[in-house]
């Protein structure tokens, strides 16, 4: 048995038929990590004893003949920007090198309740700021399909871990594309739910009006199963809402016949790899043949999305990251001088370049004399962008776009030029700005490297987005796993 060819469903079946134990699955996952992580570096911390305790607890239940849920006993991992009680949680930052989380994020608490075996914590760009994991304070993750290339980011560790069969699923976060872009680069499914559907409590905040937690899986149906568990109102997140749907798997296999699918013309522009475009158009043709009504639509403010993002996100970053002062927790540099010198030194040494750059930009756009021209104007353009989507969703049920304009790029290609790195998120940021559900499904491979197709829908249409994603997954069919 190989985790790479298994799903949550097949493993659940094997567990309840006692063909394997959860402890065996955990050992298999740990062995795979030991074999591959010298190359991939998808993990920052292993949870050893905790994982073993969780696995044995599930095994006891199975032996006692108790019913177990679908996720019970399945090895998984969590992006290191999400709090996990008693386990080191660094957010990929040196400023939290030795920090042990004191509580569980709500998503983690819910998954533990559902019987998750948490194998470890995944590498990511520092505080989730980046598109390649090259900004991790602990070294980058490598793409399992080609270790000379980036896995995408910021949740690159999560994507690589699922793609390489180190774990069965992982939970990441997506602020501007940080689940969908690495999912596309690593050939796995990545889902950013509607903003408000999944609690942000315990996500180490980067940009509170944009951050979303969501799953990485091999298949769309598994993402729907995970959403069933992690969705819902949480009293600790005032922006979370009651999930109005109790089973996101229910409509998955329903036909897309009669569904109206929009192709936003602004997403099929110069810079998009022609092969990716061709492949997505082939998918569109099949959807059309299956009875979906496909039409070209326009989202005129698309070109403003990244600039809006690179004003609002740093503004929120500069505010959210003010709390990292090294006094109450985290890395404390030698305390010479007074408090001011201490702050300057701790934050100067503890934060990497990209984090400091974004804090400075945020400080600038919020400063007196500039706030109206930058921050306020960006908020207004964000409103316009939301109106674009509201308008388009009066014509169509869902939108289909590429997830990224290219396949995974090589290490070093974009790291020295922040703006070129930011452009990797050109197709993904709009969904965050408008709070929409957006899913990346593997659409094919080019020169052995995966790319994805993105499905977006109106707020709270997560079930429809998953349904269209499921249909596309059937059209694309199985794709090769990485050879690592």
């Amino acid at each position: 048995m190989n985790l790479n060819t298994e799903t949550i469903f097949s493993l659940h079946d094997k567990l309840i038929k006692k063909e394997c134990s959860s402890e065996e699955l955990l050992r298999m996952s740990e062995k795979r990590i030991a074999q591959t992580d010298k190359i991939l570096h998808a993990f920052l911390t292993m949870s050893d004893q905790l994982a073993l305790d969780q696995a044995r607890k599930i095994d006891k239940k199975i032996i006692a003949g108790e019913r177990i849920g679908l996720l019970a006993g399945i090895p998984a991992s969590i992006k290191d920007v999400i709090m996990t009680e008693g386990i080191r949680t660094t957010a990929g930052s040196k400023i939290l090198t030795d920090y042990t989380a004191v509580y569980d994020a709500t998503v983690v608490a819910k998954l533990k309740q559902a019987g998750m075996v948490m194998v470890g914590k995944n590498n990511c760009d520092e505080f989730a700021m980046g598109s390649s994991t090259e900004n991790s304070g602990f070294g980058p993750t490598h793409n399992p399909f080609d270790p000379t290339r980036v896995p995408g980011g910021s949740s690159g560790g999560s994507a690589a871990a699922v793609a390489a069969g180190q774990v069965v699923y992982s939970i990441g976060t997506d602020t501007g594309g940080s689940i969908r872009q690495p999912a596309a680069f690593c050939g796995v499914v990545g889902f950013k739910p509607t903003y408000g559907l999944v609690s942000r409590y315990g996500l180490i905040a980067m940009s509170s009006s944009l951050d979303c937690a969501g799953p990485f899986t091999k298949t769309v149906a598994e993402a729907a199963v995970l959403l069933n568990v992690i969705a819902g109102k949480d009293e600790y997140d005032a922006t979370s809402e009651i999930a109005k749907i109790n089973d996101y798997t229910k409509n998955l296999s329903k036909s897309v016949k009669g569904k109206k699918i929009g192709i936003p013309k602004e997403y099929f522009i110069k810079g998009l790899d022609p092969e990716i475009k061709k492949s997505i158009m082939q998918i569109v043709d099949v959807l059309n043949k299956q009875g979906a009504e496909v039409m070209e639509v326009s989202l005129p403010d698309t070109g403003n999305a990244l600039p809006v993002y690179y004003i609002l996100m740093p503004a929120e970053v500069s505010s959210n990251l003010a709390k990292f002062d090294g006094l109450r927790y985290g890395t404390r540099t030698s305390s010479h001088g007074d408090l001011l010198e201490y702050y300057m030194h701790t934050r100067g040494q503890g934060f990497g370049s990209e984090v400091r750059r974004r804090i400075l930009i945020g400080t600038y756009v919020l400063s007196s004399g500039y706030i109206d021209a930058y921050y306020l104007q960006a908020q207004k353009v964000r409103s316009k962008l939301k109106q674009d989507f509201a308008q388009v969703f009066t014509q169509v049920d869902a939108l289909l776009t590429p997830t990224t304009p290219t396949i995974a790029f090589a290490f070093g290609d974009k790291i020295s030029d922040p703006v070129s790195m930011y452009l990797s998120d050109i197709y993904t940021v709009s969904a965050n700005l408008a709070g929409l559900p957006a899913l990346s499904v593997p659409a094919g491979q080019l020169a052995g490297l995966p790319y994805g197709v993105q499905i977006m829908g109106p707020r709270w249409s997560d079930d429809l987005v998953l349904q269209v994603g499921f249909a596309i997954e059937q059209i694309v069919g199985p794709l090769p796993n990485p050879e690592i």
């Binding site: 509580y103 809402e241 403003n304 690179y310 001088g337 300057m344 934060f351 104007q377 908020q379």
Partner: protein
């Protein structure tokens, strides 16, 4: 125009120490990023309200005092402490 002096000022406001080389490279990079976002100023936003909030409903929990279960762990996480209290560097020089 973002020059070295402006970066120094921002870094002071944000309590971030930068090396001399970083001040120079950040000035160039921040300038380039602001240039990238600058065309937003030309977007016509007349009559459009800024969008600050995201929640569809505004249901807040009751303002009730609850005792945290994590006091011991929070104390444990403090890098420097004395008699159970957080110890900080001196505030006045």
């Amino acid at each position: 125009m973002i020059d070295k002096k402006k970066i120094e000022h921002l870094a002071h406001l944000a309590r971030i120490e930068l090396s001399a080389e970083e001040k120079a490279s950040f000035a160039t990079q921040v300038e380039k990023i602001l240039e990238f976002v600058s065309h937003l100023g030309q977007v016509d936003t007349g009559g459009i309200n800024p969008d600050f909030y995201y929640a569809d409903s505004q249901e807040l929990r009751n303002d009730q005092v609850k005792i945290s279960d994590h006091v011991a762990q929070i104390r444990q996480a403090m890098p420097e402490k004395e008699q159970g209290q957080l110890k900080t560097p001196k505030i006045f020089s």
